[in-house]
Symmetry: C2
Subunit: 355 residues, 2 copies
């Protein structure tokens, strides 16, 4: 599905060279930001926020309390911004993209709420915010409510193409989350399996969000390129997110390292460090990822040291860079201009934010 | 929305008389069963089961393990049976109702899985089956997967009417579940609020399941009557289910009484007993429904005694009987024959099973 899924892990020196040859010379231009994209979508995004507020509303007070906390309060709105930008890039001048961008955000929020749900065994580690305040059941049911609202909005829009894209995305996301659960604590998974998981749980909704832009614009020839852009951008974002969990330095290690390691999520830095580790290092990882292990600060520090020794953080960033390059390349057939430039910048930023 | 939602609670003697006058003389005819309905839908239901098996399948082993346990193993399939029977009653001869009946069952199963999710505070009481075996997260995510599969099947069917009916049903069910969570432990709720909750969490999917029969048959004039039949049948079923939680006699009280009482769910028997209770009885109920109360066997026994004293079980059955009567009446404009007779019998059975 994506580059790098079948290749074996290269030596650090090897990919560092490759990366240096392919990547833009970062020092010679200003740092990439999301600012241009944010400016282009700002007006439409304000409309999206109004749709979200209206359609997240319910007669049931608890639903409003929880959605006010998690969805109405606003986040980065990255995924709906992609729907808007993609529609603009396709020259769309109507209003359908506003409601559909809200659908994308509802599905994303439902996923976050459901990802908050914890098992009894996780409780000792504390819980995420919405769950800590309202509990498992509320998180699940309000997630279901938002998910259903998304489908009601799609039905009102009336396009079976849209419904097909987002119902598939929902099924793929759920599969990806279950897959992640299945392989948690499993150090034997390969980079390919890791990429399958994040392609499903993260990149699929990025891909769908972008593809919608071509659908509302009635530009079917751009569905696949925009889908590819979204997929690769989502992969880059997730790989970087997972890498940042291990960016700790000696002074703030207890804070910065962490959540994934504690949760037993086997992400790319761990796969890389484990693959290159000595016998004693591999034993360390196996012990740390055993079910039920309580991770203390010394273990966190040691994990970080092994990640650094294997150059596994930088390896992850290199993989993310490849996905970002692919994202930019996917836009080749789309119209040049400020919108495309902003989307290219978003892909570069997805990786640069890790520096 | 339904009869009885605004009326004050009648004296037991009063409604007993009313009931005796309106109800068929039960001793003069054979007991109602679901057998006729089951026989009529058997062939189509076998097809539904094949669709369920095919579409619940996934590449992810954990999804298959869990769906094999909860959906493929089969249950009563009451809701999909209603879709099939309603389509037959409308004279439908096509195949669309098979996939749509599977959608209804997927949504029902997703709801069950999500209803299984427990908060930390519930764990001491033990958990429902799927959750106990696989945990909260699996229950949530596999529920999401089945829910998404339902929407994919609807998209493949291609009818926006169908999508509107089932996306609305999903939103209403989620709202109803949240509403139920909000009013749990709340003895001040009225019969009207109780009926609002069960109308949303239970009767809405019965109504939708039946309405689909008219949609696939292209008989729009029968959508509302079938919806009404489904709503009233669902209400009758849920009221009886809730009443049966208090059917315990002295010998098996610890087993038969229970789950709702332990969960702090304020159902109709409790509302009726609390409304008619003496000061000391009301104090008992208030104490028993306080958050965090551990219900022991003596408390269960006492609750049952007060339910019996207030004749609150029989009052609930009387309310259910009214809904069953309304269900039968709703079918007046539909074609007479064996299918309608079977659906009428199903409504009578919904109440008679409590005797």
């Amino acid at each position: 599905m994506a580059r790098g899924t079948t290749q074996s892990l290269p030596e650090a020196s090897e990919w560092a060279t490759t990366n240096a040859m392919n990547a833009p010379a970062l020092t010679s231009r200003p740092a990439a930001t999301m600012d241009a994209l944010r400016a282009l979508v700002a007006t439409d995004l304000a409309k999206v926020n109004r749709v979200i507020l209206t359609h997240a509303h319910s007669d049931i007070a608890l639903i409003n309390d929880l959605t006010a906390h998690i969805v109405a309060a606003g986040g980065k709105r990255l995924r709906p911004s992609l729907t808007i930008a993609a529609a603009q890039l396709c020259g769309y001048t109507g209003e359908r993209h506003v409601n559909l961008a809200a659908c994308v955000e509802f599905i994303h929020t439902a996923t976050l709420l459901h990802d908050d749900v914890v098992d009894a065994s996780d409780l000792r580690r504390g819980t995420a915010t919405a769950n800590a305040l309202w509990g498992n059941k509320s998180s699940v049911l309000v997630g279901d409510f938002l998910f259903s609202r998304a489908f009601q909005l799609m039905v009102a829009d009336g396009s079976l193409d849209v419904l097909a894209i987002l119902s598939q995305a929902s099924a793929v996301i759920a599969s990806g989350e279950v897959h992640q659960l299945m392989v948690s604590h499993d150090l034997s998974i390969t980079q390919a399996v890791y990429e399958q998981v994040i392609a499903a749980k993260t990149a699929e909704l990025f891909a769908a969000a972008c593809e919608l832009g071509a659908v509302v614009s009635n530009q079917p020839q751009w569905r696949e390129p925009l889908r590819r852009y979204g997929h690769c951008l989502g992969m880059a974002f997730q790989v970087v997110d997972d890498a940042l969990d291990y960016r700790a330095n000696e002074t703030d290690i207890g804070k910065a390292i962490g959540d994934d390691f504690r949760d037993g999520k086997v992400t790319l830095p761990v796969i890389a460090a484990y693959a290159k580790g000595s016998t004693s290092e591999r034993t360390f990882w196996e012990k740390a990822f055993e079910h039920g292990t309580q991770v203390d600060e010394a273990t966190l520090r040691q994990a970080n040291a092994y990640i650094a020794k294997a150059d596994a953080f930088n390896f992850s960033i290199h993989v993310a860079q490849q996905f970002a390059d692919d994202a930019c390349a996917a836009l080749a057939s789309l119209p040049d201009g400020t919108i495309k430039d902003a989307m290219v910048n978003a892909a570069i930023f997805a990786v640069e934010r890790s520096y």
